[in-house]
C-alpha cells in the first residue's frame, strides 16, 4: 500500500478502543457521532490481553475481585469465554449504533499487549476514542488511557461513562502548535456541524486581539460563527468551562491536566 493510500485511509477512519466497560461504550457512541458527522469509517478494536491469557494457566493463579475483594480461581477457558462475551456485546452495540447513524463500520478482536495494540491502532486513525478508565468508579485517568494520550501522535477523544457529544463544540485555544492543530480539527468538526464554535481564548493579554482577529477571519472564511470567551476574565479555563457549561472540549494535549478537573468529553490534540 502506498504511503498516500495509507495516509488517506488514516484520514478516513476513527478508531475506538472498546472493552465493554461503560466508559468505553460511551467512547464508542461519541466516536460514532463524530464518524457520522464527518462521514468516515468507524473502526472498533477489542484487545484480548495476551499476558492475561498466558498466566491464567498457572496453578496458583487467582483473580481478586475489584469490588468484592474476594479471591477466585480463573482458568484460561473462562477468561476467554468472558472476553468473547464482551467482544460480542461490543459488536452488537456497534452494529446498532452504526445502523442508527448510517456509519460504515468494522470491528476487530486482536490479541496482544493492550497498550501496544491500542497505540498502534491510534496511529492509524484520524482520531482515537477511548474511555477515561476501565472501571466505572475510577475518577482518575486510567494508566493505559494516560499512556496513549501522552504517546499518541493522533487526537484522542476521552469519555467517561456519562459523557456524550454536545454541540456546539468548544475549543480551548492557547496559541501553541498543538492548539493550532486543535483549531484545524475543530474547524473540520464544526464545519460539518451547526457552523457554531465556542472558543475559549487563553493567550497572552497582548496577543488576545490579534488572535481573535486571526481566528475570526479564518472561521468566517469557513462560514463558521465563532463565539469568543476570554479565559482571563475567569480565574482558570475550568471555571470558564463550568460557567458556560461547555460540554465537549477540544484542547491541546499540553492541557492534559484539565482532564483531572473537568468532566465531559475531551478531545486532546497533540
Amino acid at each position: 500500500m502506498s504511503e498516500a493510500r495509507i495516509q488517506r485511509r488514516i484520514e478516513e477512519r476513527i478508531v475506538v478502543a472498546v472493552d465493554a466497560s461503560p466508559h468505553s461504550l460511551a467512547a464508542l457512541r461519541a466516536a460514532a457521532q463524530f464518524a457520522a458527522l464527518i462521514q468516515v469509517e468507524l473502526y472498533a478494536l477489542f484487545v484480548e490481553d495476551s499476558d492475561l491469557l498466558r498466566v491464567s494457566t498457572l496453578p496458583f493463579w487467582q483473580e481478586i475481585g475489584s469490588f468484592s475483594a474476594t479471591a477466585r480461581q480463573l482458568d484460561r477457558q473462562s477468561i476467554e469465554r468472558t472476553l468473547r462475551a464482551r467482544a460480542n456485546k461490543v459488536q452488537q452495540v456497534l452494529a446498532q449504533l452504526a445502523d442508527q447513524m448510517q456509519v460504515q463500520w468494522s470491528f476487530q478482536v486482536m490479541r496482544g499487549g493492550v497498550t501496544d495494540e491500542l497505540l498502534t491502532a491510534a496511529e492509524n486513525a484520524m482520531l482515537f476514542s477511548m474511555g477515561r478508565a476501565s472501571r466505572v468508579s475510577n475518577r482518575a485517568l486510567g494508566s493505559t488511557t494516560a499512556f496513549i494520550i501522552k504517546q499518541s501522535a493522533r487526537p484522542v477523544l476521552i469519555l467517561d461513562d456519562k459523557g456524550q457529544i454536545r454541540h456546539p463544540l468548544t475549543l480551548l485555544y492557547t496559541g501553541t502548535e498543538s492548539a493550532e492543530r486543535a483549531f484545524q480539527l475543530a474547524i473540520r468538526l464544526a464545519h460539518r456541524d451547526h457552523n457554531d464554535l465556542h472558543i475559549l481564548l487563553w493567550v497572552h493579554e497582548a496577543q488576545t486581539n490579534a488572535a481573535k482577529e486571526s481566528l475570526s477571519k479564518r472561521l468566517t472564511e469557513q462560514n463558521i460563527r465563532p463565539h469568543f470567551t476570554w479565559v482571563e476574565n475567569f480565574t482558570s479555563p475550568q471555571l470558564a468551562v463550568r460557567r458556560f457549561r461547555y460540554d465537549t472540549l477540544i484542547l491541546p494535549v499540553e492541557q492534559l491536566d484539565l482532564l483531572a478537573e473537568l468532566k465531559g468529553p475531551m478531545l486532546l490534540v497533540p
Binding site: 499476558d51 487467582q62 475489584s66 480463573l74 477468561i79 468508579s137 482518575a140 468551562v241 465531559g264
Partner: protein, 806 residues
C-alpha cells in the same frame, strides 16, 4: 227584588292621583333608597351583620324580585367598608410531612410579599450557590479532597505494584478484578517456563503471590471505606460553603419576619431543606462532586423540585379596602371549600401544596359571603361542606371523596384555616321553613331570618315614596322620564300585582320590567316621555303575549264545547269562578257547578272527592255545607237528605274552598227548587254560619266572567257575586269598570249566604219569625219545607222497614 246594590265603579278600581307630589316627570323627582316597605327585613339584616356571635348567620327569605340581593349586598357592603381587610393566607410546604401543607396567616398584603421574598431567595440561592461552588476556594478544596482520595487509592495499589515488582511479580487487570503473575525480563512468565523453575523457586513465587493477594484484598477492602470517608468530607465541605451562602441570604428574611413565628419556622425548615438538597440549585456541571451519583434533576428555573420552596398565596388582601363581600353564583362544594388540583406527570396524577386552590370561604374569610340557598342545596355536598365549615369555624380542604371516607389514596391534607365569616343565604320562605323543620343544624347556624315582604301598604304617602322609587329606577335603568300619569298607572298596576287596592307590590323586578316595556313602547311611538298610555300598552301587551290559553278556553265556551250559560235561570245550576295559574300568568275561568238532591241520610256527596279529583280544601268546603244545612234547617229533625255536587266538565283536580258558597247556592236552589240566574257568577267561601269569606284572585275571576259575557254581549243583568271582604282587593281592568259604570255589568259584595241567594234567585231569603218559622215563599222556608218532607218520608220509610223486619 234583591235589596243589595252592586258596587259603584269607584270601588272597583282605586285610582292613584299623587296629589301630594308636585312633578311633571320623574326627571324632576329626587332619587331615594330603593328599599321601601322592607323595614322588618332591613332591621334583621342590620342585626344579623352587626352581631358577632357564632351561628348568627342570615337567611334572607322572601319571594323572588323583592330586591333581597340588592338590599343585603348594599347593607353588607356598607358594613364591610368600615371593617379592616382580612389576613392573607398562604400555604407552604411542610418539609417534614409534605402531605400536610402548613397554613400561614399574615397581615394583609404580606402574603404576596413573602412569596416574592422567597422567590427572590430561591433565585439568589441558585446564583449564589453556583458562584460559591464555582469559586476557586471551593474548587481547590474539592480538588484537594479528590486528589487525596485518588492518591490514596492509587498509592495503595502502587505500593503493591512496587512490592510485587521487587519480588519479580506483576499486577495484571483481569476481566473482573486484579491478579498477580510472575515476571521474567519484564514479561509475564508462561506456564511452561514456570514449570521449568526449581520447585523451591516455584514455591517461593506461590507464597509471595499469596501474600500479595492478601495485601491486595486488604487494600481493596479499604477502598469503599475511603470512598465513604471522602463523601462525608465532601458533604461537610458542601455544607460549610452552602451554609455560609444560606445564612447570609436568609438572615435578612429572618429579621424581616421576626414578628411572625410561623414564617420564621418555615424559613428555618426551608434553610435546612436547601442545605440537604443542594443539587437542586446547581446545574449539572456545577453539582458538588458528592451529588453526582444521585439522579436528582437539573436545577433549572422551572425545575419542579424547586416548587417546594414556593409560597402559595391563597388569599391576597392587598387590594382590599375593607372586609370582603363575595357573592358566589356557583356554590359547588369545591368552589366553597377550595380544592387540591392534580396534574398529569409521566402518566400519573400528582399534586403538591402549590396546587391548593382557594374556595369562596377562603376569599370571604374575615368578611361576608352571599349565597343562593337553593343553589347550595342543589350542589351535591355543598350544604354539608358549608355547615361543617361554619360549625367548626375552619376551612378544611377535602375532596368530596375524602369527606365521605370513600378513599384511602394518599393525597394532601392541608392544615385547616380558621374561619370567621358571616354567611347570608337567600331563598324563598318555603325553603327557609323547610330547612328549619328538616335540618336541626340549620337553626343553630342561621339564627337570623330577614323576612322580605312582597307588598307594602298603599297610602298617599307610600304612593309618593313609590313614585320617587320609580324615578330612581328610571334613572338607574336609563329610561326616558315617566310623566305623572305614567307613574300613577304603574302604581295602580303595582296594586293590581299585589292583588289588593290597599297594597303595593314589593316585587320590584316586575315593576322594573313593566317600566322597561313601557319605555320601549314610548320609544316605538317616538315619544320622549313615557305616558300612561305607554304603560297601559305594556300591560296589554304582557296580557296578550300570555293570554293564548285563556282565549282558547273562552272560545270553547263560546262554541258551547264547554257549557256555561250567561242568561236564563236553572235549578241547581250555577256559574262558579276559578283561577288558573300557569307560571306568572293568572286568569279567571267560569265553571258550571250543579247540585241534585234526594231523600237520604244527610250526606252531601262531593263527586270530585269520590273520584279523587278534590283537594283537601275543597273537600273541607263541601263538608261545611252539610254542617250549614244541619245547623240552619234541621235543628230538631234529622237531615234526611242526600245531595250530589259536581264541577261539570272538570277533568283536572280541584282544590281551594273559594267555590263553597257557590256550591251552597246550587244546593239551596236544588232543595228549594228555586231557579238561579245564569247571568251571574259566584265566588267566595262560606263558613258553618253562612258567612261569605274572602278568596284569592278576585280580579281575575271577575274579569274572566266579564270577558265571556262581553263576548256574548253584555245584557245589563250580568255580574259577579264576590265576598264583601274582597272589595278592598278590587283593582279591575278599565273596561270592566266602564261596563259597571254603564250598568252593563254588576259586582255584588256578599256578606252572607242569604244576601247571595236573594241576588241569585230574586227571592227573599227569609228570617225566622217569632213562631220560629220562615215566612212563606222565602228561600229558607222552601228549603226547610223540603227538608222536613224528606225527614218525614224518611221516618215513615224507617218505621215501615222496621215492621217488615219484625
Amino acid at each position: 227584588m234583591p235589596s243589595l246594590k252592586p258596587l259603584s265603579p269607584a270601588a272597583l278600581f282605586k285610582r292613584t292621583t299623587l296629589d301630594g307630589l308636585q312633578f311633571n316627570t320623574t326627571a324632576e323627582l329626587a332619587e331615594i333608597e330603593e328599599f321601601i316597605g322592607q323595614d322588618r327585613a332591613i332591621q334583621a339584616v342590620e342585626f344579623g351583620i352587626g352581631i358577632e356571635r357564632q351561628g348568627y348567620n342570615l337567611f334572607a327569605l322572601g319571594p323572588a324580585g323583592t330586591g333581597k340581593r340588592s338590599l343585603v349586598r348594599r347593607y353588607v357592603e356598607q358594613r364591610a367598608a368600615t371593617e379592616p381587610p382580612p389576613s392573607d393566607w398562604c400555604y407552604v410546604n411542610n418539609f417534614e410531612r409534605p402531605y400536610i401543607p402548613n397554613a400561614l396567616r399574615l397581615p394583609p398584603g404580606m402574603g404576596k410579599q413573602l412569596s416574592n421574598d422567597v422567590q427572590h431567595l430561591v433565585d439568589d440561592l441558585r446564583t449564589s450557590l453556583s458562584t460559591a461552588f464555582e469559586s476557586e476556594e471551593y474548587q481547590t478544596r474539592r480538588q484537594n479532597l479528590e486528589m487525596e482520595f485518588q492518591e490514596r487509592q492509587q498509592e495503595s495499589l502502587k505500593d503493591l505494584q512496587e512490592k510485587a515488582k521487587e519480588k519479580g511479580l506483576a499486577l495484571l487487570r483481569t476481566p473482573a478484578g486484579l491478579a498477580f503473575a510472575p515476571l521474567k525480563d519484564g514479561n509475564v512468565v508462561a506456564p511452561e517456563e514456570f514449570e521449568k523453575l526449581p520447585l523451591e523457586e516455584q514455591e517461593r513465587i506461590k507464597t509471595e503471590v499469596e501474600g500479595l493477594q492478601t495485601q491486595l484484598q486488604r487494600a481493596l477492602y479499604q477502598m469503599p471505606r475511603w470512598e465513604r470517608e471522602w463523601r462525608s468530607r465532601m458533604r461537610d465541605l458542601n455544607l460549610e460553603v452552602s451554609g455560609f451562602v444560606l445564612t447570609n441570604l436568609v438572615d435578612d428574611l429572618f429579621q424581616k419576619y421576626a414578628d411572625f413565628p410561623a414564617v420564621v419556622a418555615f424559613l428555618q425548615a426551608l434553610q435546612k431543606d436547601v442545605s440537604e438538597n443542594l443539587a437542586d440549585f446547581l446545574g449539572t456541571n456545577e453539582k458538588p462532586e458528592n451529588e453526582d451519583a444521585t439522579t436528582l434533576p437539573d436545577g433549572s428555573p422551572s425545575s419542579p423540585t424547586l416548587r417546594r420552596y414556593e409560597v402559595n398565596v391563597l388569599v391576597d388582601s392587598s387590594n382590599l379596602q375593607g372586609a370582603p363581600v363575595i357573592y358566589e353564583s356557583n356554590p359547588s362544594y369545591l368552589n366553597l371549600v377550595g380544592r387540591v388540583e392534580q396534574m398529569a406527570e409521566m402518566g400519573a396524577l400528582t399534586t403538591d401544596f402549590t396546587l391548593i386552590k382557594p374556595g369562596v370561604l377562603h376569599r370571604a374569610n374575615g368578611g361576608y359571603l352571599i349565597l343562593d340557598a337553593l343553589k347550595v342545596l342543589n350542589n351535591p355536598y355543598a350544604w354539608e361542606g358549608l355547615k361543617r365549615a361554619l360549625q367548626f369555624r375552619q376551612i378544611r380542604i377535602e375532596s368530596p371523596v375524602q369527606m365521605l371516607n370513600l378513599t384511602v389514596t394518599i393525597s394532601l391534607e392541608p392544615e385547616p384555616i380558621p374561619l370567621d365569616v358571616k354567611v347570608v343565604l337567600m331563598g324563598d320562605a318555603q325553603l327557609y321553613y323547610l330547612l328549619a323543620a328538616a335540618d336541626p343544624e340549620f337553626n343553630e347556624l342561621f339564627k337570623v331570618a330577614a323576612d322580605f315582604s312582597d307588598e307594602m301598604e298603599r297610602t298617599p304617602e307610600t304612593e309618593s315614596l313609590y313614585a320617587q322609587l320609580l324615578a330612581t329606577i328610571a334613572h338607574r335603568e336609563a329610561l326616558q322620564p315617566f310623566d305623572k300619569s305614567a307613574v300613577a298607572r304603574v302604581i295602580e298596576q303595582s296594586a293590581r300585582l299585589a292583588q289588593d287596592a290597599e297594597r303595593l307590590t314589593a316585587r320590584l323586578q316586575t315593576i322594573v320590567d313593566l317600566m322597561e316595556e313601557a319605555n320601549y313602547w314610548a320609544e316605538q311611538a317616538k315619544a320622549e316621555i313615557v305616558r300612561a298610555q305607554h304603560v297601559q300598552q305594556a300591560i296589554d301587551a304582557q296580557i296578550y303575549r300570555s293570554d293564548r290559553l285563556n282565549e282558547r278556553m273562552r272560545e270553547e265556551i263560546l262554541r258551547n264545547t264547554i257549557l256555561i250559560d250567561t242568561e236564563g235561570e236553572h235549578i241547581g245550576q250555577i256559574n262558579a269562578l276559578s283561577v288558573i295559574q300557569l307560571g306568572n300568568v293568572m286568569f279567571g275561568h267560569p265553571t258550571r257547578i250543579t247540585a241534585t238532591v234526594h231523600m237520604g241520610e244527610g250526606d252531601v256527596v262531593n263527586i270530585e272527592r269520590e273520584v279523587e279529583l278534590s283537594g283537601p280544601l275543597h273537600s273541607k268546603g263541601v263538608l261545611i255545607l252539610a254542617s250549614y244545612l244541619g245547623a240552619q234547617y234541621a235543628i230538631d229533625e234529622p237531615l234526611s237528605l242526600s245531595a250530589s255536587l259536581v264541577f261539570e266538565q272538570s277533568y283536572g283536580g280541584i282544590d281551594g274552598d273559594s267555590a263553597s258558597s257557590t256550591e251552597l247556592y246550587a244546593l239551596l236552589s236544588a232543595i228549594a227548587e228555586a231557579p238561579l240566574k245564569q247571568s251571574l257568577a259566584v265566588t267566595g267561601s262560606v263558613n258553618q254560619y253562612g258567612q261569605v269569606q274572602a278568596i284569592g284572585g278576585v280580579n281575575e275571576k271577575i274579569e274572566g266572567f266579564f270577558d265571556l259575557c262581553k263576548a256574548r254581549g253584555l245584557t245589563g243583568d250580568q255580574g259577579v257575586l264576590i265576598p264583601a271582604a274582597n272589595v278592598k282587593h278590587l283593582m279591575l281592568r278599565q273596561d270592566v269598570v266602564e261596563a259597571a259604570a254603564a250598568r252593563k255589568f254588576s259586582i255584588y259584595p256578599i256578606e252572607t249566604i242569604e244576601q247571595g241567594i236573594e241576588v241569585l234567585t230574586g227571592l227573599p231569603a227569609g228570617t225566622r219569625g217569632k213562631n220560629g218559622k220562615y215566612p212563606k215563599g222565602t228561600i229558607n222556608q222552601r228549603v226547610e219545607a223540603r227538608l222536613r218532607t224528606f225527614a218525614r218520608k224518611s221516618a215513615a220509610a224507617g218505621k215501615k222497614g222496621a215492621k217488615e223486619t219484625a
